[in-house]
């Protein structure tokens, strides 16, 4: 009996306990949500053009003030914009890089080195049903720059939205039922922990006017991570294409229906009717899935592709070309109508003359907006114009950063001599000077001298042009950015055998393009590729096993590849590049 009483009282007490707890738990969770939102709001931007007409949203992603928004928000701003933050202050900002196809823009704020910034999440881990919240400046309500919060769930992920007009393709995007309205464009979509999972930019609008109808789309942050490096280059960046079209065949497989013979995919062996199994590390079952992966990759990346033919699987690495020609992209941008998404503010469908709700809600909004002002000095200092660039200043900045880091840890100003043992016995010796390059082997010597056309003799045979490649590598080291030829900073890209993304400089000298890959931390030259012609496979030279030496940190291994073949591996015993009173400046 006693036992029973005891158990009963325990049970009743637990119930009483359980009765009180849920409320507390709910309150706690609510308090946590409020705290998360309170912290998240600090990184959110209300973006206005300098003249104060229109605007959108954005989010800061680094303490030094780099921030993300939509291309269609930044476009009407031109080079300079003003960003209001939740602290009530307005910061000047300059455009850095734009991705018109992906509808992304990178801007940089000035005035602090400790900007509150959002943490980037892994948007591939987002699941349908996850709670999310959007922040931004819908209808430009936030005259005090306190962002508006809307709350919802992920309604769909890996959505593909066809290009609106000629640009603005939303691939692999997130769909949410959190309200996204005009003015939210460019603002962040946060997960329940307040981490950045996407940039809101598009919604399904229909006959109900330009207001939310429960289906809005955010560019996934993983797509933006791919593009962040190239956006920092200050360029107008383009998306990638495979050079092949894929459709679903009778069995529903994603099969190649068309392929360009000049494409790298074709040269690597992809043919009509091959079934694509995976691309960029993601399994592919439908044409839309391929479009989704392709849509999140920048032009110029090299990506693994797996395909099946007659039951056999093949793995290849494919260089991706651009969706648009360079001119085409610029023309399309110019042709674009005035951006529609952030502004004008929506009007009730049947009363187009009525003042917009934003103005209704806050009649003083207009007078509080910054008036037309001249470009601020700080923006002028961080902006330079060049065709094909959103802001060439940032390209120069990054060229110098990469080149200086390389030069700081290696002294390669003189003639280059690379000596090492051969497996077959004897030694190899490369000599690279201003006049050309040579390779001395026990049985044979190759001499290559600078002729009229760099791409004419690609010695040694089957290497794709190792000697001219080395000549160009040395030329970059010796002549520097200004005198090599035409050099630009591409951004970041993956490199075979290297984890993470690496910095890429592209140089063009006498009609030959060269890509130089640098370790973003150490500054080493990791690899170079020389393209004697854009429709030919390049000569690929990979440097590794860096060690401290007389001339700084130099590689002790050089691997040369061409097409699908390994040409040779050279173990470098001695790499002399030190200036011996030579003629290089």
């Amino acid at each position: 009996m006693k036992y029973a009483i005891l158990m009963l009282s325990v049970a009743l007490l637990s119930v009483a306990h359980g009765w009180a707890m849920p409320e507390q738990a709910v309150l706690d969770a609510e308090a946590r949500r409020i705290a998360v939102m309170d912290e998240a709001k600090d990184s959110v931007l209300a973006i206005f053009p300098a003249n104060g007409q229109g605007g959108g949203s954005g989010v800061v992603i680094s303490p030094d003030g780099y921030a993300l928004s939509n291309f269609h928000v930044v476009l009407p701003c031109g080079k300079a914009m003003q960003c209001g933050m939740a602290d009530g202050k307005v910061y000047d900002a300059v455009v850095v890089g734009i991705d018109p196809t992906g509808d992304v823009a990178l801007i940089k704020l000035f005035g602090r080195d400790d900007f509150p910034h959002a943490e980037l999440a892994d948007s591939d881990r987002v699941r349908v049903g996850d709670r999310v919240f959007a922040m931004g400046n819908p209808f430009l309500l936030a005259t005090d720059f306190q962002p508006t919060v809307t709350y919802g769930i992920i309604s769909g992920s890996h959505r593909y939205q066809f290009p609106a007009g000629t640009l603005l393709e939303y691939a692999d995007c997130l769909q949410t039922d959190a309200s996204i309205n005009p003015g939210n464009s460019g603002g962040p979509l946060f997960d329940a922990e307040g981490r950045l999972i996407g940039i809101n930019g598009r919604a399904s609008f229909e006959k109900r006017g330009r207001v939310n109808v429960g289906a809005a789309y955010a560019i996934s942050i993983n797509q933006i991570k791919n593009f962040l490096g190239v956006l920092r280059s200050g360029r107008i960046v383009d998306h990638a294409t495979l050079g092949a079209r894929v459709g679903s065949d009778a069995d529903g497989r994603a099969a190649v229906t068309e392929i360009l013979e000049t494409s790298d995919a074709y040269r690597r062996g992809l043919r009509y009717d091959d079934e694509i199994i995976s691309f960029g590390g993601r399994p592919i079952a439908t044409p839309n899935e391929l479009k989704n992966v392709l849509g999140i990759l920048p032009k110029g990346w090299r990506v693994p592709l797996r395909f099946r033919r007659d039951g056999r699987r093949y793995n290849i690495l494919v260089r991706l070309t651009g969706v648009h020609g360079e001119k085409e992209l610029l023309e399309k941008m110019g042709r674009r109508r005035r951006p529609t998404a952030p502004m004008p503010l929506p009007k009730p469908g049947e009363k187009p003359k009525k003042p917009s709700p934003g103005k209704d809600a806050n009649p003083s909004a207009k007078s509080q907006r910054p008036p037309t002002i001249p470009i601020p000095e700080i923006v002028k200092k961080h902006f330079s114009e060049k065709r094909g660039y959103a802001n060439h200043y940032f390209n120069t900045l990054n060229q110098q950063r990469v080149w200086n880091a390389w030069k700081a840890q290696s002294n390669l100003d003189g003639a280059w001599t690379l000596v090492g043992p051969l497996k077959s016995g004897g030694e190899f010796q490369f000599q690279v000077t201003d006049a050309g390059a040579s390779l001395k082997l026990p049985a044979i010597e190759h001499h290559w001298t600078v002729g009229d056309e760099l791409g004419d003799s690609l010695l040694p045979a089957d290497s794709g042009g190792l000697l001219p490649a080395l000549y160009l590598g040395r030329r970059l080291a010796v002549e520097g950015l200004g005198r090599f030829g035409d050099v630009y900073y591409y951004g970041t890209a993956p490199l075979v055998g290297h984890e993470g993304l690496v910095d890429v400089l592209v140089g063009s000298h006498r009609g030959v393009d060269c890509r130089f890959y640098f370790d973003p931390r150490e500054g080493h030259l990791l690899a170079m590729e020389m393209f004697p012609d854009e429709e030919l496979d390049p000569c690929e030279v990979y440097f590794s096993d860096f060690h401290g030496a007389d001339g700084g940190f130099l590689p002790s291994r050089m691997e040369v590849r061409h097409g699908d073949e390994l040409f040779a591996v050279f173990p470098i015993r001695e790499f002399r590049g030190k200036k011996k009173g030579g003629n290089a400046p």
Binding site: G18, E30, V128, S155, G156, R159, D177, E206, G214, A215
Partner: protein, 404 residues
Amino acid sequence: MKRAARKMRLLPKALAAFSGSGSHLPDPGSHALRGNPLVPALCVVSSDAERRGRCVPTRSMGMRGSTCFLLFSLLFASTPAVASISEVIDQTQPKMVKIYGAGGFRGMEAYQSGVLVSPNGDVLTAFSHVLDTDYITVVSADGRKFEAKLVGADPRLEVAVLKIDAAGLPFFNLEKAVDAEAGTRVLAFSNLFDVAIGSEPFSVQKGTVSVVSRLEARRGVFKTPYRGPVYVLDMTTNNPGAAGGALVTSRGDLAGILGKELRNALNNTWLNYAVPIEEIRRSVEEIQAGKFVAQRDSDDAKPRRSLDPASLGIVLIPDVLERTPPYVDHVRPGSPAEVLGVRPDDLIVLSGDRLIQSCKALAADLEYVDYEDEVRLTVLRGSELLEFTLKSDGERDTLKKRTP
């Protein structure tokens, strides 16, 4: 008892998980807090118990206490595991289908949503222009394409049943559908805007039933023949392509079917609503059973002399299409149709209980009606369905009128 106590300890955790963050959350308003009949019971009993908790030692083992306690144990033992939002979503997605048919321009999209309601490929959807074709395609959640047949439709409830040649697909059992009430947390599944193609999952939206109300179809305000109760929702569910989508509770039970888009002509607002399963279940079952809008048996004998529209005084619009909608072009003066009030531009939708989708279909149907018999035609006029019982005036017989 230990088990019960352990469950109690777990409870706060489970509830904490409800309310806000983390990735695989159950709905905060899901049944443990609201809507579940078990919970009000728990609340009442436990507050009761809280009071009594203090007097347990003196009252010793009162019968009420022990019953109470047993009740708790039973309650907890029988409470099914709380399904998280993502579990409900994962369970619901495979029961959904995408439907493609007639249409294809703005305002008349050629797609909508549907739910599987039998293991044999019966699809419940909204009766709309999309189904007005011989070529209806249904795409199952795994991306397979099926040719679908229109089994039947109830134009008054705006529901239709399609059949696809498939077996073993997951489905909603209409018998197990539940009622929702104001405050019930719900998820809406649909292929709004045709965002998803092939095997891509349906869009999911989360919201609450705002009110259960009759669809006051005041003439000219909302154009719909359906006037029964609807779940009015606080989320924008009724978009192009969403009609026929599923409204499920946070436990994953089917509660309703998303209705067609409805615009209030007076104030240009749109209504977001779902039709309760309860309202349509009988009709759907009859359609499935072949009782409703039944196809004629082929061995039905045609009468020697049969009716035709003209003998009723009805002249249809010229039959120029494969499926010309049977609109009344004009009504012969003095004819039974005119006397009873059939008007030009009326759309004939039913002959008896049979769905009529074209001029040819009406003519064919009337071939089975003896010219001396009366026929009951249902017409759509604006947003109203009207019934007329007509008889040929060949003999100038007396006419009857049945009010709708």
